[in-house]
Symmetry: C2
């Protein structure tokens, strides 16, 4: 494993910002020391193969995250895009389905959409002021 300059930079970003990040996000966070987008993609692929990063696709865009711990799901506020992590109990939930169908699960996607406390409040006020 070659620990090149680019790879260090990318890894640092994930370590300083424990979030879901897409290639473009990383590109922006590198404003000072630019890395080519294609290199970023290759680096993300590289770390994913090494099981250092995991990935999850939202709306045709692939987001990556540090694979410390289990996996991540979020409740996403569709107003302010804040992400609130949730504990995943999918495996438990699926248990009987998997048995019944003898299905071999390789991955799953789960995302919850809605409003966080603040945005829910604003929405109510907003709606009031409009009738």
């Amino acid at each position: 494993m070659r620990l090149t300059h680019s790879r260090k930079l990318v890894l640092d970003i994930f370590q300083n910002d424990n979030a879901l990040l897409c290639a473009e996000d990383i590109n922006k966070k590198l404003s000072g020391e630019a890395i080519d987008l294609s290199t970023i993609y290759r680096t993300l692929e590289y770390f994913t193969n090494k099981d250092i990063l995991g990935k999850s696709t939202i709306d045709k865009v692939t987001y990556y995250y540090l694979k410390e711990g289990d996996h991540h799901h979020y409740m996403i506020c569709t107003d302010c895009l804040v992400r609130l992590p949730i504990e995943c109990e999918i495996d438990k939930m699926l248990h009987k389905n998997i048995k019944q169908y003898k299905f071999k699960v390789t991955s799953h996607d789960l995302t919850i959409y809605g409003y966080c406390t603040d945005c829910a409040k604003n929405h109510k006020e907003h709606r009031k002021s409009h009738g």
Copy 2:
């Protein structure tokens, strides 16, 4: 709702073939009576908004399916695209997260990916035959 020629054709395809289909799949199945791809996309979007079709994304490609019944989630075989319906217990699973964060859920997406019994078997054989 305007039931145009194109829309009838697309709907027919889903009714004759209860499967996951992407825009390109539909385009191919229309070999006789061609519809422009952009129209197919617009038609699929249209039916999705009308809640007649549901969609699910695999590998950056959006697949559509007839929405029989209200709230369905599926385990999808990424080899043969067969769909196995699963009972949704997300609300139960989220209960404590929602309380903790005071989050107002509006919707959620859940899809399970993996291999059905047959494809899992083929995969194993495939792997064997390659080493």
